[in-house]
Amino acid sequence: MKTQLVRLIPTILLILVAVNQLRLSHTQHLSAWKGGGFGMFATTDGGPSRYLRLFAIDDGAEFELDLPPALDELGTRAKELPTDAFLGRLVCGAVRELGVPALDQPDVPITYDAFRIEVWRSVFAADDLTPEQELIARYQRDLSERPCR
């Protein structure tokens, strides 16, 4: 029995990773295409059908911003697995890239109170493929309470 288990370690690993992928898909919206669960070519949800929207918030007003190109790679990961960890890193990356000052630089003119990042996906109607947009994750960081380091 023990011998057989040792022999089958790779297969056991495959099962564990695939089950974990199922868990992450259902709890964290991990794309079926990723994570080692063998869900490639099973759904339109993933890759180009997901997209990010970045908002800066100042005095209650919201401004939608383009994600800085330097964050493209991190953004791609965050789209496929929109956890708070990835989205938080994206927000702080945006703070750095967009030149928002740290709290100890109050004389710099452009400041925002908070940043929010949202992950959306297109869902296609089965009859005529009309896409509808669905919000799957959002992360907001109030910079006065939790400045980026």
Binding site: V6, R7, L13, L14, V17, G36, A42, S49, A126
Partner: protein, 305 residues
């Protein structure tokens, strides 16, 4: 050592080649094919890829190296490092490659590579197709109704040739479809006159056919590899598992852009198959090289205008 050549006639040459391929030790053959797959489809980022390629070349050139567990442990670590570094972006075959290298590591370490290879190949093939069927048949809301393949054929440029060849679509149609489907409006916004999404009846049929052929083939592979042959009523499938897997690879990879996955599946197929099926697998391995190397769909689209 001197090289001699007897220059046999073509028929004799084929017979000799066949004999030579059949005479290769099974473990040596699957080791070589795995290394070849790593060379044909290099993986990993710059910090990993050159080392992976170098280790693979050493393994192909040296019998001692490729029969040593250390080489396979190195490849397991390197292919695994790629997944960690790239998390969560690696494709499924990246994971399978790690598991397979690990199986060979354990096999050579325990001095029973054939047993470990055969066991893991059979179970991993059965299980990965089971998970694939689970996703397509039960967990995805847009697969069984054909939406997935309709969208993919209309928007994914890797499928554009197939959409033109078999779906009666033009490049202009595909451009228009791409703009309609891949450039989302802000939430809540609606166009007064949304452009129609061009979708021919032929493309719709192609999508439905692709949906069900893929699902049925994957389910057959899963059943054929997992069910014991003694189990009624479907146990007989197990005897035909090699043909089902080869049929899957032959039908899927002219269109699906993941030939590296196919090579790995075929290598694992050889590991668990009886020797008389070896040439079938090797011929399919070669066929996949042509699928990847020859832009047959583009050529046909060009030729047919």
């Amino acid at each position: 050592m001197s090289l001699t050549s007897s220059n046999p006639a073509p028929r004799g040459l084929v017979r000799r080649l066949k004999g030579e391929l059949m005479a290769i030790d099974k473990v040596d053959l699957i080791s070589r094919l795995t290394l070849l797959t790593l060379l044909l489809q290099p993986v990993g980022f710059w910090g990993v890829r050159p080392i992976l390629l170098a280790v693979s070349v050493i393994g192909l050139l040296s019998t001692t190296a490729r029969q040593h567990w250390g080489l396979w442990a190195t490849l397991t670590v390197l292919t695994g490092a790629r997944i960690v570094e790239d998390w969560p972006m690696s494709d499924n075959h990246a994971y399978l490659l790690v598991y397979w290298c690990l199986a060979l590591t354990i096999g050579f370490y325990r001095a029973e590579p054939e047993i470990v290879g055969r066991l893991n190949a059979r179970w991993m093939l059965g299980l990965l197709f089971t998970f694939a069927v689970l996703w397509k048949g039960l967990l995805s809301p847009d697969y069984v109704d054909g939406t997935f393949f309709r969208v993919i054929f209309l928007t994914d440029e890797r499928f554009a040739d197939a959409a033109q060849l078999f779906g009666d679509m033009t490049l202009d149609d595909l451009d228009l479809a791409y703009q309609s489907l891949s450039q989302p409006l802000p939430p809540g916004a609606e166009l007064v006159e949304p452009p129609p999404i061009p979708e021919s009846a032929a493309l719709h049929r192609l999508a439905i056919l692709s949906t069900w052929v893929t699902l049925v083939l994957e389910a057959l592979v899963a059943l054929a590899f997992l069910l014991p042959s003694s189990l009624r009523p479907l146990g007989w499938l197990h005897r035909y598992r090699d043909f089902v897997l080869v049929a899957f690879c032959t039908i899927t990879y002219p269109i699906a852009p993941v030939v590296g996955f196919g090579w790995l599946l075929l290598t694992m197929g050889i590991a668990q198959a009886r020797d008389e099926r070896r040439l079938l697998y090797l011929a399919t391995f070669l066929l996949l090289i042509f699928y990847r190397g020859v832009p047959w769909a583009s050529l046909l689209v060009e030729r047919l205008g």
